[in-house]
């Protein structure tokens, strides 16, 4: 048997579609150049960076006590944050799905899940310092503790847990909703108590999902740069060590090798998560719940769970509120009244605030539509078409999810500062706004692609086939059928990309040049210097921008959304 003729015909049909071929070629070039190549150059650098091929650079960095310490630090934080986040996330998800809640508690939950999305990833570090630090409102003024040290291991763990648990909560909520209530009812019917049902039925069904949530958080935690930078103090993690190695010690080869080590850890975790746990999660929980769940009304369960989660939610919300308030106090920790607008004023008069917001805003605004369109094209190709390079495109765009921003940043420095393979070719883009935009795109591409793929999987393949059959070419099918059908996903991808870009810091901080002022970099700088009020003022405006973008999107989807009519079918 030989499939040669069929394969040859498929190839010919593909070639008869020049737009499609061009798109695929451009995509492959983009992915190779801006995701694979920077990582490859890190490998090359760390093996031959000092002239001869070998492990000498690795030997050198592993001999540094600060580096080995950073590895253990990172892993310790990652494990603890992963476990805490998935447990708290599970609790929240359980309460939301199983316990009848009033509207107030429901609102709290919704706010908590929303906050990390619209705020820069490190604002909690700021408020942690302002509430519990040496001059913290709670520690110093309420409890009269004058030497509380929030910096270090516990600071990072608490801040990261509070930042990442809403992600686990959202993931696990989806899974819990998909458990068929009749499974649990059957166990209840057989005489199992509520706790027994949870332990024997719900939890085992959730285990792969929990593992999944743990790993996702673990990867986020060890890739996190800004929180350890601000609240880590002398407790260095891999991401900050790499940053210091390149900006402080100017040891580019060493930083490259360290980046390779960090990348290996995240890739390993990512592989386990993607290929082992994700499949398992899907296998145990298939389909939708057949009918509504009997919610728990029992007061002995409902009251403590609701109170605990509400308090936790209120605490998180308070931490976020602390940021705009902090920006209004005349001097944080010493003088609270009268509230003042002077920090906001200074942002714009003294610290080039206008330029910072303009630069961040414009660059993100350019990156967002590119990201959204690119991820929809990739999703379309991956889900609806078959061609040889499809596996490559899907794998590489997903791979970007596992690459920590710091690693990518170092890769770009090594890969483009001297041009491609240090030859000078394409050197021109280094240090420009273009490379910042590309980084924004690459960083947001995986999330966009993921949501695009799941949106497209829900659309019957024959709808596009019918358009194709009616005489539309690929471009026409994509623009008149696919895109309109996933308009909502496209819009939310657009906003997500914008928000992620404008709040990004880890890769950007390594690549930004003085000609561009970015808000996140400014916030980081002021926080480093201890100018928390200014940092808060910057962060507040940033949150307002991102929140407005999200509101705008929701209003837009509500007004023009298509999915509602489509789903009714």
């Amino acid at each position: 048997m030989a499939k040669t003729q069929g394969a040859a015909l498929d190839r010919k049909k593909l070639m008869a579609d020049p737009i499609m071929v061009t798109t695929i070629v451009l995509l492959i070039t983009f992915l190779t150049l801006f995701i694979l190549y920077p990582l490859a150059i890190l490998l090359v650098d760390s093996f031959v960076g000092d002239g001869s091929f070998g492990l000498s650079i690795f030997k050198r960095i592993f001999a540094m006590p600060s580096f080995t310490k950073a590895i253990t630090n990172t892993l310790k934080v990652g494990f603890l944050v992963g476990i805490l986040s998935s447990l708290i996330g599970l609790l929240f998800a359980y309460v939301e799905v199983y316990v009848r809640m009033n509207r107030f508690v429901g609102g709290l939950f919704k706010t908590v899940s929303m906050l990390p999305v619209v705020s820069p990833p490190f604002v909690l570090s700021l408020s942690m310092i302002m509430l519990f630090g040496k001059a913290g409102i709670i520690t110093r003024f309420l409890l009269h503790i004058y030497d509380n040290n929030v910096y270090g291991f516990w600071g990072i763990v608490i801040v990261q847990t509070l930042t990442f648990f809403p992600v686990c909560y959202m993931m696990l909520k989806g899974l819990l909703k998909n458990i068929d209530p009749s499974l649990e009812e059957a166990a209840r019917d057989m005489g199992a108590g509520r706790w027994k049902v949870f332990a024997d039925v719900t939890l085992p069904l959730m285990l792969p999902g929990l593992g999944n949530a743990f790993l996702v958080t673990f990867i986020e935690s060890i890739a996190d740069f800004a929180n350890p930078m601000i609240i880590g103090g002398s407790y260095d993690t891999l991401a900050t060590t790499i940053y210091l190695q390149i900006t402080g010690a100017y040891d580019k080869a060493g930083a490259a090798a360290m980046a390779v080590v960090l990348l290996c850890i995240t890739l390993l975790m990512f592989a386990v998560q993607k290929y082992y746990l994700e499949a398992k999660t899907a296998a145990t929980l298939t389909g939708k719940a057949s009918r509504a769940r009997m919610l728990i009304e029992d007061k002995s369960v409902k009251v403590p769970l609701t109170i605990f989660c509400s308090l936790a939610a209120l605490f998180v919300i308070m931490m976020y509120i602390c940021v705009p308030i902090g920006a209004c106090f005349p001097t944080w920790g010493y003088k609270f009244f009268p509230l003042t607008g002077k920090w906001f004023n200074q942002v714009f008069t003294k610290y080039h605030g206008f330029k910072a917001f303009k630069d961040s805003f414009v660059l993100s605004l350019i990156a967002a539509p590119i990201t959204a369109l690119l991820s929809m094209i990739i999703s379309y190709l991956v889900v609806k078409r078959k061609f040889k390079a499809k596996g490559f495109i899907e794998a590489v765009s997903m791979l970007a999810m596992a690459v920590p921003g710091t690693v990518l940043g170092v890769g770009y420095i090594r890969g483009f500062s001297g041009g491609l393979f240090h030859t000078g070719f394409l050197q021109g883009i280094y240090g420009t706004g273009l490379i910042l935009i590309i980084v924004f795109v690459v960083r947001s591409l995986p999330t966009g692609t993921r949501s695009g793929i799941s949106a497209l999987r829900q659309i019957d393949k024959s709808i596009e086939e019918s358009a194709y059959d009616m005489g539309a070419d690929s471009l026409k099918v994509f623009t008149t059928v696919t895109l309109p059908l996933i308009k909502d996903s496209f819009l939310s991808g657009l906003v997500t990309a914008f928000v992620r870009s404008i709040t990004a810091i880890s890769a950007i901080i390594l690549l930004v040049t003085p000609s561009y002022l970015l808000i996140t970099v400014q916030i980081n700088e002021f926080a480093e210097k201890g100018a928390y009020s200014l940092a808060c003022a910057f962060a507040t405006i940033l949150i307002i921008i991102t929140y407005s973008a999200v509101l705008l999107m929701n209003a837009f989807i509500k007004r023009f959304g298509t999915s509602r009519n489509i789903k009714e079918e």
Binding site: T4, G6, D460, E465, K476
Partner: protein, 358 residues
């Protein structure tokens, strides 16, 4: 809308798939040659996995054959993409564009062909009239019933005036009554337009009601092609006989011949039936007996014993044992006939001309 009708010809077509679990390759369609006459209505019929949908999708261009060539009229079309082929498909799930209303759905293909606006309007309205959807053109597709959606799908395929119309189990999502109405509609419209139609289904009554010719497929190969009557009365093998309608198989050795009539020994009793020239005494043959072609009597046929007797309204359903062979039969209009009970010994009677020797 007069244009030259085109037929379809498959010349030694094969399609190889890979089993996703074992990685083994197998023939989904194997060395299939077919000629479909211009203007005829042909059904591809077979159990699931027999290769009928794959064949249809190869004609539409969604799949590429691994061997052989497909012709539309006289033109080889292997290398053409679906959008360049002069075929139009009606999908199982209708596949209407959910963000368009009825008019825009039907007009989609014409717009792609850059037909002038006025003409689009005229042609769409004419087709909507043909499928009896006049007045619905402003509706969104999710405001239509299943049958109406199917009509839109049909109208959309017809309006671009393709040479060949392809149907991929279009009625399987409809309820039983609507299926019957719609298949009559499809046949009426096909006759009116005079278009070549290829129709995939696993429902034999649909195939019977619709087709000029039925192609029965099994395991990737064509088992038989012929008119509904040929296939029902003269199946080429047990698979075809069993797949189309109910069939009883009586096996027996040929003992003698007199002219057209041959004598077979069935479970120890001699039976005279109409045979064919190829039959030789001494060989084993299988007879196909349709349930409605036989009846029970006190004597005069093959001796049998009733094991099931069940009143079904329009007929009495019997299962009888002829020796060791189970025979099912339907006694129609049983009102004033003698009803045999379970355990009765009686006789299986049928016209020798109404059995078919395989």
């Amino acid at each position: 809308m007069e244009k030259i009708k085109k037929g379809v010809r498959l010349d030694h077509i094969s399609k190889i798939y890979q089993d996703p679990k074992t990685g083994k390759e197998f023939y989904a369609v194997k060395d299939t040659s077919l000629t479909i006459e211009p203007g005829s209505f042909v059904t591809l019929l077979g159990p699931s996995g027999c290769g009928k949908t794959t064949t249809l999708r190869m004609i539409a261009g969604f799949e590429s054959p691994d061997e052989g060539e497909i012709y539309l009229g006289d033109e080889p079309i292997n290398e053409l993409t679906p959008n360049k082929r002069d075929t139009a498909m009606v999908f199982q799930s209708y596949a209407l564009l959910p963000h368009y209303n009825v008019f825009d759905n039907v007009a989609y293909g014409l717009k792609l062909r850059k037909v002038p606006k006025e003409e689009i309007k005229e042609r769409v309205m004419k087709i909507l009239d043909l499928v009896e959807l006049t007045g619905m053109e402003g509706r969104m597709t999710n405001q239509l019933s299943g049958g109406q959606q199917q009509r839109v799908a049909l109208a959309r395929a017809l309006v671009i005036e393709p040479s060949v119309l392809l149907f991929d189990e279009p009625l399987s999502n409809l309820d039983a009554k609507l299926r019957v109405t719609m298949r009559t509609e499809i046949r009426r419209i096909q006759q009116e337009v005079g278009i070549t139609a290829i129709y995939v289904t696993h429902d034999q009554s649909e195939a019977m009601a619709l087709s000029d010719n039925i192609i029965i497929m099994n395991k990737g190969v064509v088992a038989q092609m012929g008119t509904p009557q040929e296939i029902y009365y003269h199946p080429v093998n047990e698979f075809v006989a069993d797949f189309i309608g109910e069939a009883n198989f009586l096996k027996g050795k040929m003992t003698g011949r007199s002219g057209d009539l041959v004598t077979l020994d069935i479970e120890g009793s001699p039976l005279e039936v109409e045979g064919n020239d190829r039959m030789e005494a001494g060989n084993e043959y299988t007879l196909v007996l349709r349930p409605e072609a036989a009846t029970l009597a006190d004597k005069g046929g093959l001796p049998c014993k009733v094991v099931l007797s069940c009143f079904m309204g329009s007929y009495q359903n019997y299962h009888v044992m002829v020796g060791n062979t189970l025979v099912k039969l339907e006694e129609h209009n049983p009102k004033n006939k003698h009803i045999y009970a379970v355990g009765d010994n009686c006789s299986l009677v049928f016209d020798p001309k109404s059995v078919h020797v395989l």
